[in-house]
Homo-oligomer: 305 residues x 2
Amino acid sequence: MKITALAGGVGGAKLAHGLAQILSSNELSIIVNTGDDFEHYGLTICPDLDTVCYTLAGLANPETGWGRENESWRVIENAAKLGGPNWFRLGDQDIATHLERTRRLKEGQLLSEITNDFCKAWGIQHTIFPMSDSPVRTIVTTDEGELAFQEYFVHRRCEPRVKGFRFDKIEVAVPALGAVEAITSSDAIVICPSNPWVSVDPILKVAGVLDAIKNKKVVAVSPIIGGKTVKGPAAKMYAELGIEPSANAVAKHYQNLLSGFVLDTIDKDLKNNINIPTLATNTMMNTIAERAQVARDVLHFIRSL
Amino acid sequence: MKITALAGGVGGAKLAHGLAQILSSNELSIIVNTGDDFEHYGLTICPDLDTVCYTLAGLANPETGWGRENESWRVIENAAKLGGPNWFRLGDQDIATHLERTRRLKEGQLLSEITNDFCKAWGIQHTIFPMSDSPVRTIVTTDEGELAFQEYFVHRRCEPRVKGFRFDKIEVAVPALGAVEAITSSDAIVICPSNPWVSVDPILKVAGVLDAIKNKKVVAVSPIIGGKTVKGPAAKMYAELGIEPSANAVAKHYQNLLSGFVLDTIDKDLKNNINIPTLATNTMMNTIAERAQVARDVLHFIRSL
């Protein structure tokens, strides 16, 4: 069974890693949100893409889920001494990724090519696609006006009240080289437990993605567990948009797209309110083994549909 | 006595540091070559400027004379793992300087303003000017064609045979804010023991610098000692250009500009061949105290002229 997974940052990376433990490189591709990308210190930074790559490579910081293990902070600390911004904590190893990526982007290379080469260098077997080879930038509309995503997410710690989202340049976004083909040749699509508003929606809006997905089995895993998120502002966003945060709300978000839905055991009573096949299982992924277990459950569920 | 020193990299930085130990911030300004600057990984790197700043701040690596003390190399090592170029060894602390400088340059700020702020942050009392607020790039003409300076100097280890030099955009180079005024208000100019061809000549060619210097007492310190350089390719360049490398050759290089010349005790016999007042003294600056001693000798010599 060939699977394409759609993923955002930490939660998505964990399930992608679970799937990668079970499926071969021919059986799994991962398409990652790049709406969170931004330019900082002249560097093109792709937080979700790097989180997925670092996680699959076994290089991620196990404490935070993002950034690198055994990271050091000499660059950003010295830049801060010179008055440079340090609200976005760039680690030394992480900066190497951004520097080399930016160098190659400036040479005119595609983000997908660069990502592919980085994955090889990091020993990653599976193909990881950025959702697009052209820059898309998620803008959060808040009660304080529009904020670039990382400005909202990291600098302002998700404090401004959310009123909506837009994805700058999504209309002209070029899908990454091979990404739509990966979907087309897949038997099923797994929407990882990532933020529906700002991690998955941008991927779905890239030209060709939704059309390619429509005729496939699609299963989403809820990022909302017991009305809360493990990490990130998805639940807060639902609430501020006037929707009670719940696994139900996530299922409704993707409505016509889904063949099946996966929610956490804690939310098993909500199954009755969801009118598509729904699996209740443990979806917490605290350990590497749990990532594989959730992936196994999801794959078993897909086969049953 | 007010002094403006003209300096390139390591040798120039040492004498500038010597002068800074003796003269107050009102008595000494330093103008530094920026012809060696280049763009690497999208960063604007100013090797001579940083060497002078790090040296005066007491942050320089005492072993190499360039780069930072207690440096680490995590960024460049990780970038190299991704296939990025590592022929120019960028240290982690040093990268912070380049990142913050590049960030501010892209905001439209002047290199002289940025340098001034960096000096304050590093606790440097004296004013250090880049020679220009617009990019000038030294190009080395060699038997293998034209090479950008750092390509010649670091990547190719000065191996190609030198045929000449040109300074790209020197004709339109804007002197740094306040640099010409510093010269004008000085009593004397000290040309530090830097490479005459690629460290000092570019400074002299910036619009207004030569005119401002002409009516001043100008003393140059020979970077060539016993026919060799302490560091760098000046002697090799003289030889390849068909000129015997010697303190004489340096004096001749600056000819009409000089009021006096300083050469090393080892070369004291050459004094007879130089038709301007010439001081022979120890010019090796292995220790911080020796830097001050050479500066003291130079200042005493200037007063005698």
